[in-house]
Amino acid sequence: MTPVVDIQHVTFTYGEKVALDDVSLTVEEGDFLGLIGPNGSGKTTLLHVMLGLMAPDRGSVELFGQPVEKFDQGERIGYVSQQATNRGGSMPVTVRECVRMGRFAHAGRGRLSAEDREIAEDALQRVNISDLADQRINQLSGGQRQRAYIARALASEADLLALDEPTVGVDAESRDAFYQLLDELNDAGITIVLIEHDIGVVTDRANRIACINRKLYHHGDTESFVESDALSEAYGTTGTVVHHHH
């Protein structure tokens, strides 16, 4: 079976600084991969390289069996970036308008079809925010907003969901509900790659872990990760391991 993501010997540098050093990993269909590592370890860089947002200096990346630079099935990936980098914060866009963006890659040049609109409504319902559809997205709480972005990914009928620290600034209750939702989606067959600073959350939810700090320290199932020394190696013995429940 073709892996969803296939990264081989990827190296990425910002000028002199090496962010990723010979990293290889694969994500299989149906995986829930937790991507963890200390601050500045290259997690986000790896995710960006994986999605084709940045080109690696060396190595190759394939998405659904296609080299990432030639990849043309953008609708198969739902990407939720870190909240801080979203401009959505100040733009007058409604939740429904945001979710419909998930259909844009399908719709081509013309207007959205009635079917596109219906799929967007279904996505709103699936993450349980239909009642917020006409609200401006910047009026929502952090948890509701992340649900809207997930709904956008669902509307695009994505097979791969890539999330970069989606619950920063989200209260504990909404956070649990949010991860519950991710579990459900994963059970429904959607592949998930999740960057999360709270290792407890990741080990509870993900079935596979990639632990990186410039290099890949662990890549495998969650049980073997918990038993291994990868965590202390990657974070260093003096490093602060975030492991708390808000």
Binding site: M91, V93, F104, S130, A133, R136, Q139, S156
Partner: protein, 359 residues
Amino acid sequence: MSGTDKHATTADSQPTLETPDLREKIELAGVSLVGVLAAVMVGFVFLDWVRHYPYADVAFEQFLIAGAWMDVYLGTNVFRHAFMWRSIATGVLVGVVAPLVGTYLVHRQMALIGETLAHTAFAGVAIGLLFIAVTGWEGSLLVVALIVSAVGALLVQWLTERTNSFGDVPIAIMLTGSFAVGTLLISWGRGFMSIGVDIEGFLFGSLAVVTASGARMMAILSVVVVAIIAMTYKELLFITFDEQAAKVAQFNVSGYNTLLVVMTAVVVVGAMQVLGVILVAGMLVIPVAAASQVARSFRETLYLSILFGQVSILGGFAFAIGASLPSGGSIIVVAILIYLAAIGVSMLAGRSGTAISTH
């Protein structure tokens, strides 16, 4: 829009003065009215262009006679003159396309780029003056400005893509730099030729600056810009809202960015005639800022910014003509009054339970 959808049950939880449907209808009616007005203006410019042909000459005469009757009823001395109509036509079209392009610019936080391109266009005017004086070319000054401004737009785009961390520093250098070159060229040119063009008109905007060919250019570029935005509404919205996600969805982000910046350059050159180099950015930004205060969706922001833009243009013209003052300043002052009113409305609405602030 979305008011008729089966899930649109939140109307109850959003107490507004009118029902959403009525508000939408009023906005749509307003935008349609602006559309009809703009179409009539494009029609006038076209008649003006072909008025030496049979039938067109009669139609053109009739248009001005209708204008004379308007003068009689309004007690003015405006609408009987073809040159006034050229200015009004240019203004009405600016009132459509500037807020349209500006909506994307403002929410991409690229407002400064509009200002920069206006200053680049000024350098274009200076280069055009010299070019025409030296070569005796009979083309329009604004065509040269248009080309220089479009090249400047590509340069600005190139700069912003390569300097992520200090995005606005190279832009600010380009803004002042192109203006400096423009002033030097004009002063230098004055040394050996007579410059018969009203430089102050280009700086501050004037009803008298608009020529037949200038109005014609504005009409053509308006039709093109409106068509492009209608075709790329979705793409521009996605890229403006979430550039990275749009890139992951395989949209050609850099292509659309370039398109947006070049469209801005083109609009700025057209709008420069009535608004002036220094004030043109205001028309890109202020109606959009006002609309963003009160709009509930992106589509509504587009509609309202066009409406606010049009009211600013017409109100500004009325004031400028009435008080014999420059049009550019008048338009911007009216636009700012609308902006202040929008803030007031937004604050009142916030107090009564509907939070519609932008932050």
